[in-house]
């Protein structure tokens, strides 16, 4: 895997870290937000924080699709899973997200047929293999994952599979960013853009950040060097007074994205008028649902779901964490009432949630360079 090894080069990393240190303005604090669970993961997994000067703060935004699912939607999923004829399939982390009364894993322990899959295609295969059952796929994810669901639905349609449906919770990346930037208690210097979402949608959709909000953004890949490089590029923009969309992940991300992927999304999905995001409230035109032509493959049409809105527990501060307003350890229940084994909120459930990442990997008192 030369592709990957090259970018894990520690020596290059140290050189970049030194350049970053040299380029940082003394006494100035920089707050950079990344909006992708994968970036959160890389930062913690490789200890990137250790390599940055103390006055450069990396903040995690609403980039984890599991983290933004409200409890009521989880309950809807559980209701579907409890139906005896249903084989309920979902990605790994979704199984532990607490709804109003337990999570999918609890439902499984109670007898529901809940199975983890790595892709919606696995779920479709289950439907083919079990014609006597109803297979439901809990679709989550940003624009990176939505095309996979779309292609699966098109295949289901083409093959005439009747016992498959999707419970669609796909979301888009731009609306929550706009919502975030309207918040007065957030001071950010710039963004690290989500590399794989951008592979599908391109760099173009992020132009609103410099254009409307005067925030520079650098689209980044997922290796530790990618992230360091992106931070370096961002800080250089700030030092040189530039404000633009830059692409660090040029080896993969085209400016206009993947036209075929966008066509397929357009073909299968339409925008919901609004969708509730955990911690962020209702955001208009931020979620996807299946078009009417695919109603028979839409779990919400095929089955009844409770559709009850459940308020987050009072103690839960996931919203503030998702907006980058507080750090995980600043949440009052972090590490005490809310732990990875007994999570209260989604930020602690998802392995890429800011809280889980910090608890599992980052729980270290660090000595870093102060400039």
């Amino acid at each position: 895997m030369r592709f990957v090894d090259e970018f894990r080069d520690a020596e290059l990393g140290r050189a970049l870290a030194a350049e970053i240190l040299a380029g940082v303005e003394p006494g100035r604090r920089y707050k950079v937000m990344e909006v992708c669970g994968g970036h959160t993961h890389t930062i913690y997994r490789y200890g990137i924080d250790d390599l940055l000067p103390e006055n450069v703060e990396l903040v995690h935004g609403p980039g984890c699709p599991v983290c933004v699912i409200p409890m009521g939607r989880v309950d809807d999923g559980i209701a579907l899973a409890r139906r005896p004829e249903v084989i309920f399939t979902c990605f790994g982390d979704m199984m532990r997200v607490p709804g109003g009364d337990g999570c999918l894993l609890d439902a499984r322990a109670g007898g529901a047929d809940v199975r983890m899959v790595y892709s919606p295609l696995d779920a479709l295969r289950l439907a083919r293999e079990h014609p006597e059952r109803e297979v439901v796929f809990f679709a989550i994810g940003f624009e990176t994952t939505a095309p996979s669901t779309a292609l699966t639905l098109l295949r289901a349609r083409a093959e005439g599979v009747r016992n498959f449906s999707v419970f669609c919770n796909h979301v888009l990346i731009v609306p929550p960013l706009r919502a975030l930037l309207r918040s007065p208690d957030l001071r950010l210097d710039g963004f690290i853009g989500p590399g794989h979402v951008a592979t599908v949608v391109g760099a173009r959709p992020f132009e609103f950040l410099p254009a409307d909000h005067h925030k520079p953004v650098v689209i980044a890949g997922f290796e530790p060097l990618d992230l360091l490089q992106a931070v370096h590029m961002l800080l250089r923009q700030l030092a040189e007074g530039r404000c633009q969309v830059e692409n660090q992940y040029t080896r993969v991300v085209p400016y206009d994205g993947n036209p075929q992927a966008l066509r397929v999304l357009e073909q299968v999905f339409e925008l919901r008028p609004h969708f509730e995001w955990r911690g962020l409230g209702f955001i208009s035109h931020s979620g996807l649902r299946l078009r009417d032509e695919f109603a028979d493959l839409d779990a919400e049409h095929r089955f009844e779901v409770p559709g009850v809105r459940v308020a987050d527990p009072k103690a839960c501060q996931c919203g503030e964490v998702l907006k980058g307003v507080i750090k995980p350890w600043e949440c009052k229940v972090f590490g005490t009432a809310c732990t990875p084994e007994r999570p209260i909120g989604t930020c602690m459930v998802s392995s890429e949630g800011a809280c889980a990442a910090y608890y599992n990997f980052g729980r270290l008192a660090r000595e870093r360079e102060v400039v």
Partner: protein
């Protein structure tokens, strides 16, 4: 940063509270070898039996006793089968407890409908593994349950060994400055099981590393006996879980150098696809040794001389702080915490 330090201290206080078993029902996580298993053992089982901890093996006078149940599915996998696992697993619990394995008992729970040939194969596997490990099968039991009540078979082995005088091992014996050694590459068994479950295929197949660890333990005892603090076989929960247990028991910190941990490329690749850190994957033929600094070099050389342990390596060291915490120095130079396993990423692994 004052706020962060305080928050971290509070978390450590919460974590160091005695475990309480508060779950309403048993979930797969309780069988994973991670935090839930620990809670179950220390919160329910050990107190019920009047013990402070429930160890894998324990000395009763000069004799060491251990028991283990094997529920691996499927029962045959690349590199081994449940019978072999059942012998080696129990032999290894004795070995890493510092006892020379002498005899085992074998109890079988068989599923109605199990083919006689399959049973014959497993019984042969048990016999061969016992001979290879130098132990006698001295007693046993057989039960049959209705079709569907167990997957082909479950095996329980109990082992008896003689406490070896060359070392005094205890999980609480680790001290700052001790070195951490590993006897071979990690992740093989867990990945082999995933392959056997048909999750995916690999060009170069991976096999379970199930083997008796007594030769490795014997070599360590001979070369570095007085310097040995504790040995553990890194089964379910992997190296990460074992290091965390030791770190907790000795109230010390640890630093592991990720780049020094031997992992074969096929295993690393498979773990990447599965989204699993090889340090959490079950092994069935790997031990971790905590050795006082003065004995570490001799211990490592002795290990490397044991067939199958050529890739043995020093992977880190014991520190005074942060207490009870295992830190990993990543290949990239930064650091992260390596906590105990939560949940059950690889169920029914052994």
């Amino acid at each position: 940063m004052a706020g962060e330090r305080e928050a971290l201290e509070l978390i450590e206080r919460v974590r160091s509270r005695p475990p309480r078993f508060r779950d309403a029902q048993i979930t797969m996580a309780h069988g994973a070898g991670g935090k839930a298993t620990l809670n179950l053992i220390e919160g329910l089982l050990a107190p019920a039996f009047g013990l402070t901890e429930l160890a894998d093996a324990a000395a009763v006078g000069d004799v060491a006793l251990t028991t283990d149940t094997f529920v691996v599915t499927p029962i045959r996998f690349p590199g081994g089968s449940i019978g072999e696992l059942a012998v080696n697993g129990t032999v290894n619990d004795l070995a890493v407890g510092g006892a020379r394995p002498a005899a085992i008992t074998v109890a079988l729970v068989l599923e109605e409908g199990l083919a006689a040939d399959e049973l014959r194969d497993e019984v042969d596997a048990i016999a061969r593994a016992a001979e290879a490990a130098g132990v006698r099968v001295v007693a046993g039991d057989t039960k049959v349950v209705e079709r569907g009540r167990c997957d082909a078979m479950y095996v329980c082995t109990t082992g008896l060994g003689h406490v070896d005088p060359r070392a005094a091992l205890a999980p609480s014996a680790l001290r700052p400055g001790d070195r951490l050694l590993i006897s071979g590459p990690v992740g093989e068994h867990g990945v082999a099981i995933m392959l056997a479950r048909g999750q995916f295929e690999l060009a170069a197949p991976v096999e379970s590393d199930t083997r008796s660890l007594w030769p490795a333990v014997d070599a360590l005892l001979e070369a570095a006996g007085p310097s040995l603090r504790c040995l553990r076989d890194a089964t379910r929960g992997g190296v990460a879980s074992v290091l965390n247990e030791l770190s907790r028991a000795s109230a010390v910190g640890m630093l592991v150098r990720e780049a020094a941990v031997p992992v074969r490329p096929q295993v690393a690749g498979a773990c990447e696809i599965l989204g699993i850190d090889p340090l959490y994957v079950a092994n069935e033929g790997v031990l971790v040794a905590a050795v006082a600094a003065e004995g570490a070099e001799a211990g490592l050389r002795a290990l490397q001389g044991v067939p199958g342990c050529e890739a043995a390596a020093e992977i880190g060291e014991v520190r005074a702080a942060p207490e009870g915490m295992v830190i990993v120095e990543t290949g990239f130079g930064g650091r992260r915490v390596m906590d105990m396993l939560v949940g059950d990423p690889l169920p029914r692994i052994c």
